[in-house]
Amino acid sequence: MRKLVKRGYLALILLFLYIPIIVLILQSFNAGKSRAKWEGFSLQWYSELFKDQAIMKALYVTLSIAVIAAIAATVLGTLAAIGIHAMRKRPQAVMMTMTNLPMTMPDIVTGISLMILFTFSKIERGYITMLLAHITFNTPYVILSVLPKLKQMNKHTYEAALDLGASPSYALVHVILPEISPGVITGLLLAFTLSLDDFVISYFTTSPMVQNLSTLIYSKARIGIEPTLNALSALMFLALLVLLLIVNRRASNPAKAR
């Protein structure tokens, strides 16, 4: 009985979380354009999706920015984490405050502050500014995923590599990186998904000429969303699910050896 209550409660909460998603996916298969009326199953929105220039361009912007920003943030953040880890206490505290600051700042303030920066320095807002903004808000997350792995490391492993004749760069690549790689991959994926989903910061750092999916959806929210966008997000949702399965398969193998 008690178990049933627990499961029932969890099921209800999950239903609450999934209802809009189910609605969304159903709409993408709806033959009609109406939101609430079911007019028969159809794949027309999926085929129209690839013909829609605006959506395809937004998709390109979203994906390319997510990929570039995630990679850049991972490189920047991993290097930074290694550096911060090696610092003495006081500079380390300063760096951690600087890392935590953008994470506690509301998105809207981050977005606006960057908008002010770009306007103030007369940079036209667009693709590059959005990319810079994404790298900026992603990097702290990478640092926070990599740092715990560095802390877990035996502090003498790096020294042991040097002792055995490895140069610092060799030790970095062959000893430190393999050990912190789970954290680096977590950081990369986190950065990628954050960047993919971001709306607020993108909204303030881009121009209406260069839109990612979020800002495109926002601009259409008032006039009404076309089911093509639903179709696209259903596809992306599926792609992310597959990605998750691959990563999990990958992660569960070395996990057994630990």
Binding site: E159, D163, G165
Partner: protein, 364 residues
Amino acid sequence: MVEKEHLIDLQHICKEYDDTAVLTDINLYIRKKEFVTLLGPSGCGKTTTLRIIGGFEYPTSGTLLFEGKDIGALPPYKRKVNTIFQKYALFPHLNVFDNIAFGQKIAKVPTKEINIRVEKMLELVNLRGYGKRSVDQLSGGQQQRVAIARALVNEPQVLLLDEPLGALDLKLRKDMQLELKRMQQALGITFLYVTHDQEEALTMSDTVVVMSDGRILQIGDPKSVYDEPANAFVADFIGESNIMRGMMLQDELVRFSGANFPCVDAGFGENQPVDVVVRPEDIMIVGNDIGQITGIVQSVLFKGVHYEMMIDTGETIFKVHSTVMQAQGSNVGLSIVPYNIHIMKPMLRPVLPSEGEGEEEEAL
């Protein structure tokens, strides 16, 4: 100035962290094929000394010579020394074979040759057939052996060992002590060994260096360090001792514990305060009428080979080791042979060490 057989020379080495002196004027030489132990309580600077030789720390001042050449500024990967770290620091993402082959691969030794050498090493440390194992699957003792093999395969001239047996249990410790000594003699490599365990130091070493508070207190072979401690600190740290304040009345006559004792030391001057050290096993229990002093047995503990008795003379409580038990409360006489009384200049600091476990403070 530098003798030919000196492999490593430390001259006036000092090390400071943020104005705190960790090492003060360390002078030490290590000969080829010697087994040298740095012995001292936690925080005495022994690990820092080792790390300076390994290249992980740089001295604030002083000179570090290796075969007569200054290597003070060389990074660790350019030094012909290898280190066994506390807790081994094996590479968790590599298996046993690749851990041992790590240095050889960097040195670009041909693969065939690496295979032969690693197998030979595995045999030396009794881990034949373990090459493919993950290092996480090994016990503490086996990890220790991998760490030794990983260092020795590079044929270093000096092996630095930082409390290598600290994480092992007592039985395994004793076995590994013997094994390390055997390897050192078989391979003819110089060992520089750091420990806070005085028994380990005395058992294994050719030379013991006793350190405290960033200074070297005494250098000597185990027997001389034990028998002729340079001061009360060394006497207390190495083995058990009775340490008393005393007065040197004249050459070869010292007064402590309310009686005058003939001794063999001279040259302290007349009526000078001194520290007097007597080992518990050097105090003889005799009839209470013929002893130099008398006392009452307060407690008796059976210690396996001998009994440990605390005997109160009124002035002092002596710790005495003897194979013959005296009943608690009995009145006994005590007698000390002159050459068993060790006279030292009094130490400025009356603080005596407590035998501390655990790691030393290290700043990175």
